[in-house]
Structure formats: structure tokens, C-alpha cells
């Protein structure tokens, strides 16, 4: 112990890092959570993709800032008319940062590993419809499917589907080796991850020389670090209550965008009284979304009326379906036989949107005669009790997975929504081939959910970005949880 202490003191005497040079080509970017590991194919933590996606690791395709599929390691592809065969034409000049060549064998390895029996890929279901990946030549990958999947290319743009090489796969968790425009430099656990520009990148080289991702969980510390100039950007700023002071400061740019986070009041559809459609609608009428967003999120957040967010293709605004109307809520509850004073539980996971939102929703439901008992729990318990065992009345949670309308079609999902009509619609959507058909169907799905109101849809989590006004190229919206810094640069 004494020796360690001496070491700590010795470390304290080391000189500080060199100051930033005048022609700025470095970026210091703040994040709330530190990733547990740095391999996005082995852990679902969003903090991983927020560092490595597009910067270090790349997939065959990628998602851009508008949520569209773009070529990446595959420069083009063709899809067979039956939607079962994808032929990817790979780039010829790509190497991993340890020198390993990228070719079709890597595609075979990456997709095979994700679908293998011992796979721990968090999105293994994306890869299961694949029957085979074959290599007619080193730069052509042919992926054959069991059934058509209209979202397959989008899914392959997720961080869980990036290309990893067999020789670096075992150490990617602590030292990621990818094909991207940045190289992993070092990870000071508890503090930062540093990336530097990849001099041998196959595409347009990054404009920044180095990027530091710093982990600052505390909202007031995040505010201080930005004001002091220790941080250049905080793309997912955690303190909506502190945004006003940045808005009035010309040194900063505040970007209010949207994430994929569909914040819902999830209801246990197999439990009374939520089995009754009138009760679920009554809850929707009883909640004043505007006041909720004001109180829980300091006014940032977009109301939603279904399980879909405005930045996704085919979004329709259904918030007018159940306007705030406590009188109507009371009538509906009475019609359904729910007596005033009925007690319901509301289970709350740790994020502020849930804990703060829960207190406000409890007060709103009180107004229509429902007693709400708040039960705050940790994520581990939420996953076990609510998510795995469906043991809950109501819960507040943000579903951050993009375009996840499929969860309402799963045979058992924690809120236990079962509708043959929805399942049929979803099956049509999943196998739809034309874009027009897909859009029509995605609108029908949103409408069906809003009519059945299995959950009360509250708001889309905002993306509150605060960064230096001279900084350009960061994403305003978050169609995926990522911080793509490949095109970020400083205005002179």
C-alpha cells in the first residue's frame, strides 16, 4: 500500500501534457458514460459505438447523419429480385490498422462469428436469416438469406455488424483494430480514450489529427469543462437545465436534435386494468406531454404519438389522437370500471427521464383518480424483473434501438402486446421489397399502434449537442448512437 502511494505521488510529479497548438486540428469530446470494452460486436453499451463507429471500425455499409444507408467497405451491391441474395462488391485497397488485408474472407469471418452458436453478438438476430456468405472472388461477397428482410442493409450498418479480423478479434475489447480513418491510441480507464488519424486510410483522410473522448458523468462537471474550454464538444449533453447559459454565449453552438430514443410509459398488457383498451387510452389522455417534457427535460424533447421518431422515414405525427384531457380520462376509466383510488405501481429505471418523468406522471395520474406507487430500481433489476419476467404494472423507458417496430410483433416481449393484425402487417413490412410499399406499411404500423395504444407514447429523447461555435461536421441528430468525427473540422 505504501509503495503504491509512493507511485501515485511520483506520477503526480510528471509534467503535464503539451498545450494545444494554435492551428487547431485536435478535438476533445465529452461523453457521459465510459464504455466497458471497445468491441461493439461483443457488448451492447452505446458508449462503445459512440467512440469506435465509423471512426475505428467500419462495416460493409454505414448509416449517415440522416439515417440513410451509404457504401463503406462495400463500394456497391446488388439485390436479387426475390430479395434473397445480396452481392457486395468490396473495396480493393483496404487494410486493418495492423496491416491485415481486408477481403471477402473477413466478411465471411465477421458474419459467421456473429451467427455462430457461441456468438455473444448483442444483435445476433440480424445474422440468423443468413444461410451462407460465399466468396466467388476475394472482392465479391455473396450473402444468401432464408427469407427477405427489408431492413437488412440498414441492420448491417449498425456497429454490431462491423468488420473484424480473426487475428485481432481476441484483443479488440481493449485494443480495437479496425479499417477506419482513426487509429486507437490509448485508453486511460475512468478518464479518456484517445484516437489518432490513420495515415494509411483507404478513403478521404480525416481532417483532425487526434480525437480525445473524455468521460464526464456529472452534469455540472460537463458544464464546467465546456465553459473552461477543456472540452470542445459535448454531443449528448446531459444537463438540459443548463442549456440556456450556452445558448446565450456566442462561443458555443447549441444543436437541439432528435435521437432514436422512444420514451414510453410501458404497460403490462396482460395485467388488469391494462387489458382494457379504454384504460390504456385514458392514461394517454391523462398525461400532459408538454408539461412532462418541461418538467423532466427542461422543455427539450419532441412529443410522439406512436413507437416511431420524426427522423425516421415514413414518420407520421399521431400526437393529436389523445390530446391532454383529464375529464375524458376520468370518463373512460369510469366506463372501464376502474374505481377512483385504484393503486398501480410504476417501476422506474435510473435515467433522469424515467425518475423525473415518473414523479410527474404519478402526479398527473393522481389528477384522474389513480394512486401511483413509484418503485425506482437499478438497470440490473429492471432487466430481470420487468424485461425478462414481465413482473410490473407500468414502467418508463426509452427504447433507443433504431426502427424497432418489430418488438411489438415478438411473441413475448415484456409489455406483452399481442395483435394478429399487427403481426400480419409487420410481416408484410419486413419482407417488403419496394420503398413505396415499405413507406405505406410503416405508416400503417404506426397508426395501428397508436389506435391500440399498448403503451403510452411520450416523447423522443432530444439530442442536446453543445460545442464550440467554430467546430463543424458533428451530427445534429442521432439516427444511431454514434459520434462520427470523420468529417469534423475547425473553421479558421
Amino acid at each position: 500500500m505504501v509503495r503504491l502511494f509512493a507511485l501515485a505521488l511520483f506520477a503526480a510529479l510528471l509534467p503535464g501534457l503539451a498545450a494545444a497548438d494554435p492551428a487547431k486540428d485536435t478535438l476533445s469530446l465529452g461523453m457521459v458514460l465510459e464504455p466497458p470494452v471497445l468491441d461493439p460486436t461483443a457488448n451492447a453499451a452505446a458508449a462503445i459505438s459512440e467512440i469506435v463507429y465509423a471512426n475505428v471500425f467500419e462495416g460493409l455499409v454505414r448509416i449517415d447523419s440522416a439515417g440513410r444507408v451509404q457504401p463503406a467497405l462495400a463500394q456497391s451491391w446488388t439485390i436479387s429480385p426475390d430479395g434473397l441474395t445480396y452481392t457486395f462488391h468490396l473495396r480493393h485497397d483496404v487494410t486493418f490498422s495492423d496491416g491485415t488485408k481486408f477481403d471477402c474472407a473477413i466478411v465471411q469471418f465477421s458474419y459467421g462469428r456473429a451467427a455462430a452458436p457461441d456468438s455473444i453478438n448483442p444483435q445476433k438476430q440480424f445474422f440468423l436469416p443468413i444461410t451462407s456468405t460465399t466468396c466467388p472472388d476475394p472482392y465479391t461477397a455473396v450473402v444468401t438469406m432464408k427469407e427477405p428482410r427489408s431492413n437488412f442493409l440498414f441492420d448491417m450498418g449498425w456497429a454490431d455488424a462491423v468488420m473484424v479480423a480473426p487475428n485481432s478479434e481476441p484483443t479488440n475489447k481493449t485494443h480495437p483494430i479496425g479499417t477506419g480513418p482513426f487509429l486507437f491510441q490509448r485508453w486511460l480507464r475512468g478518464d479518456r480514450v484517445e484516437l489518432v488519424r490513420n495515415p494509411h486510410y483507404w478513403g478521404r483522410p480525416a481532417k483532425l489529427k487526434s480525437v480525445t473522448f473524455r468521460f464526464i458523468a456529472d452534469p455540472s462537471a460537463a458544464t464546467d469543462a465546456l465553459l473552461a474550454g477543456d472540452l470542445d464538444a459535448f454531443p449528448l449533453f446531459p444537463a438540459p437545465e443548463a442549456v440556456a447559459r450556452f445558448k446565450s454565449d456566442p462561443r458555443f453552438h447549441v444543436a437541439i436534435g432528435t435521437t432514436e430514443g422512444k420514451t414510453i410509459l410501458a404497460l403490462n398488457n396482460t395485467r388488469k386494468p391494462f387489458t382494457d383498451l379504454r384504460v390504456r387510452r385514458a392514461l394517454a389522455y391523462a398525461i400532459d406531454r408538454k408539461a412532462l417534457i418541461e418538467g423532466a427535460m427542461s422543455g427539450y424533447g419532441t412529443p410522439i404519438g406512436s413507437h416511431y421518431v420524426p427522423i425516421d422515414p415514413g414518420y407520421i405525427d399521431l400526437t393529436g389522437l389523445y390530446p391532454y384531457d383529464p375529464a375524458k380520462a376520468r370518463t373512460l376509466l369510469a366506463a372501464a370500471g376502474v374505481k377512483p383510488g385504484t393503486t398501480l405501481t410504476l417501476t422506474l429505471p435510473p435515467p433522469p427521464y424515467a425518475r423525473r418523468g415518473g414523479e410527474i406522471i404519478a402526479a398527473m395520474l393522481q389528477q384522474v383518480g389513480l394512486n401511483v406507487k413509484l418503485i425506482p430500481i437499478e438497470w440490473a433489476q429492471w432487466l430481470d424483473q420487468v424485461f425478462k419476467r414481465s413482473d410490473f404494472d407500468m414502467t418508463i423507458v426509452a427504447h433507443v434501438e433504431p426502427r424497432d417496430l418489430d418488438i411489438y410483433a415478438r411473441p413475448h416481449y415484456y409489455f406483452e402486446y399481442h395483435s394478429a393484425a399487427y403481426d400480419k402487417l409487420y410481416a408484410e413490412y419486413a419482407s417488403a421489397r419496394g420503398d413505396a410499399e415499405k413507406l405505406t406499411l410503416v405508416k400503417a404500423l404506426q397508426r395501428k399502434l397508436a389506435e391500440d395504444e399498448p403503451n403510452v407514447f411520450l416523447f423522443a429523447l432530444p439530442k442536446i449537442g453543445v460545442w464550440n461555435a467554430k467546430l463543424h461536421g458533428l451530427w445534429a441528430d442521432d439516427p444511431l448512437p454514434v459520434n462520427d468525427v470523420t468529417d469534423v473540422y475547425w473553421a479558421p
Binding site: 502511494f5 506520477a11 510528471l14 457488448n43 453499451a45 455473444i120 448483442p122 475489447k173 456529472d218 433489476q381
Partner: protein, 314 residues
């Protein structure tokens, strides 16, 4: 004496074993699955099972307990589920925050409390004594995390002299690191200083009443000389014991202060490990900290036994 030593060593070993078993058993009851947290909401049952195999969570409890004892014995402390690195590394990364923080706090508390306590004892019943004792009453009543909050409000937000929270790391230099630890150390030190001042005062008062001090005074030693040459040095035994206790308390007890100031120390590591159900990290830390205290108690017992053979069966 030999028999006593053997007996106490045996008790020490058994205590440590008991502590490890208690921690292990308690944590088995903890609801939640680390694999579910790692893999998120889209994880399939077969993926979870694969990760359980990889982490060794599919083995029976007793086997995992034995494997953990082996890891404790070898010093690797096992592998973190969440971070996939040896727990010993994780702990070593946090010590440069927790140890200096506890050390600065104890240093501040001691330099403040001992002169105050001695001065109060020397002028027992005087106005200064009364004021100091009243001050220490208030010091003991202030929750350290509230004090931390007030320090942030005043020194960080109002005056902007010191950072409100966070830790830049020692790599950024000694001064930024010390600046970051100063406010939390003060918050920890003041309540401890209040206790220490009282202990010092009553210990000095007690020795002032002792026969040898009276004898020394009778032999013509001045009051001040009797105080500094005899009373204070002899009063230091209980004082040092309390300082030792406070230091071991502070290393484990900074959890809340680390939360107030968001410092990446041992306390936050444990906190996060519990959230992530990274149980092996929790087990290791609790047993290590408990082991430290048990070992310190053991040493204190030995010293006392050496001083006074009659205390052998305390």
C-alpha cells in the same frame, strides 16, 4: 506468547475466510444478471447462455467460490465481467485517487485537530475551550456530503477558484490533481477533525491527571513543560489509534464524497460494479477492505498484548 500468537493468527485467517464467504453468499442473492447488462435488450437466450459459459457463470456456486479463493490467493483477484481485465488492474487504476484523497483528508484533520485538542485541554473550562468544543459539536453534526456540496457552491460556482468536480488525472500534473482533491478532502476532513479534536482533548486531560504527571509537577516542572513533555506524548496512543481507524474508514468511506465530486476512486468503482452486477469486483473490494481492517485490528491487538501481557485475552 507463542500459543497466543498462533491462536490469534488462526482467528485472523478464519475471520478473513468468514468475511469472504459472507460476501460471496450475500452477492449470490443479488437479483440481476451481468450478461443481460452486457448484451442489452435485444440479446437472445442462446447469446446469453454463450456469454454465461464464457464468464464461467454456468458453474455451480461452490465451484465459483473456490475459484475465487484461488484468484484471491494468487493476487490476480479474478477477471472483471464488465471490463474483461484482471480486477487487480482495475483496483490499481483507482488507488492513485482514493489513497491521496484519504491521506490528504487525514493530514488536514490531524494538523487541525491535535493543536486544537491540546489547546482546549490546557485551558480546560476557559472560553476558548468552550468555543472549540461547541465548534467540534457542530463539526460532528455536519454530514460530509453536504459540506462538499456547500464547498462546491461557494468555492467552485461562486468564486470559481477550484473545480466543481471531476479528476484530471495525475498525468495532467500534480497541481491540477491536488486542486481537484482539495475540496473533497476538506469535506471529509472537517467532521473527522471534530471527532479527533475531542479524542485528543479527553486523552490529554486523562494523562494530565495521571500520577507521573502529578509527580513531575510536584518536582517543579512548569505546567507547559508537563503538558508538552509528558501529557501530550502519552495521550498520543489513543489519538493515533483513532487516526488509523479514520484512515481505513476513509479509504472505504469516500463513496458518497466521490459521488458528490465525481472522482474516479475505489468507491465509485464499487458503486458502478454493483450497478453492472460485476460481482467479482464487488467481492474483491469488500474483502480487501475488510481484510485491511481485520489485519490492522490484529496488529493493534499484538501491540497491546506486547505492552501488557494481562490483555492477552481481550
Amino acid at each position: 506468547m507463542i500459543a497466543f500468537l498462533v491462536r490469534r493468527t488462526l482467528v485472523l485467517a478464519l475471520s478473513l475466510l468468514a468475511a469472504s464467504l459472507v460476501v460471496f453468499l450475500v452477492l449470490q442473492v443479488l437479483p440481476g444478471d451481468p450478461a443481460a447488462l452486457i448484451l442489452g435488450v435485444n440479446a437472445r437466450p442462446d447469446t446469453l447462455a454463450a456469454l454465461h459459459r464464457e464468464l464461467g457463470l454456468d458453474r455451480p456456486d461452490w465451484l465459483r467460490y473456490l475459484a475465487w479463493l484461488r484468484d484471491l490467493a494468487t493476487g490476480s483477484l479474478g477477471r472483471s465481467y464488465t471490463y474483461d481485465v484482471p480486477v487487480a488492474n482495475l483496483i490499481a487504476e483507482r488507488l492513485p485517487v482514493s489513497l491521496p484523497l484519504a491521506a490528504i483528508a487525514v493530514l488536514l484533520a490531524t494538523t487541525l485537530a491535535i493543536p486544537v485538542g491540546v489547546a482546549a485541554a490546557a485551558r480546560r473550562g476557559g472560553a476558548g475551550d468552550l468555543a472549540l468544543m461547541a465548534g467540534s459539536q457542530i463539526g460532528m453534526a455536519i454530514p460530509d456530503f453536504w459540506l462538499g456540496l456547500l464547498l462546491i457552491l461557494f468555492f467552485a460556482l461562486r468564486l470559481a477558484w477550484l473545480p466543481a468536480s471531476g479528476f484530471p488525472g495525475w498525468a495532467a500534473g500534480a497541481w491540477p490533481g491536488l486542486r481537484a482533491l482539495l475540496l473533497p478532502a476538506i469535506a471529509l476532513a472537517l467532521p473527522q477533525a471534530a471527532i479527533l479534536a475531542r479524542v485528543t482533548r479527553s486523552a490529554v486531560l486523562e494523562t494530565l491527571q495521571a500520577d507521573y504527571v502529578r509527580t513531575a509537577r510536584a518536582k517543579g516542572l512548569t505546567r507547559a513543560a508537563a503538558l508538552w513533555r509528558h501529557a501530550v506524548p502519552n495521550a498520543m496512543i489513543p489519538v493515533v489509534t483513532i487516526i488509523g481507524l479514520q484512515f481505513s474508514f476513509l479509504i472505504a468511506g469516500t463513496v458518497i464524497i466521490e459521488n458528490v465530486f465525481t472522482l474516479p476512486g475505489l468507491g465509485r468503482l464499487v458503486f458502478q460494479a454493483i450497478e453492472q452486477r460485476d460481482l467479482i469486483v464487488v467481492q474483491d473490494l469488500v474483502v480487501l477492505l475488510a481484510g485491511c481492517v481485520i489485519a490492522v485490528n490484529f496488529l493493534v491487538d499484538l501491540v497491546y498484548a506486547g505492552l501488557d501481557p494481562r490483555l492477552g485475552r481481550l
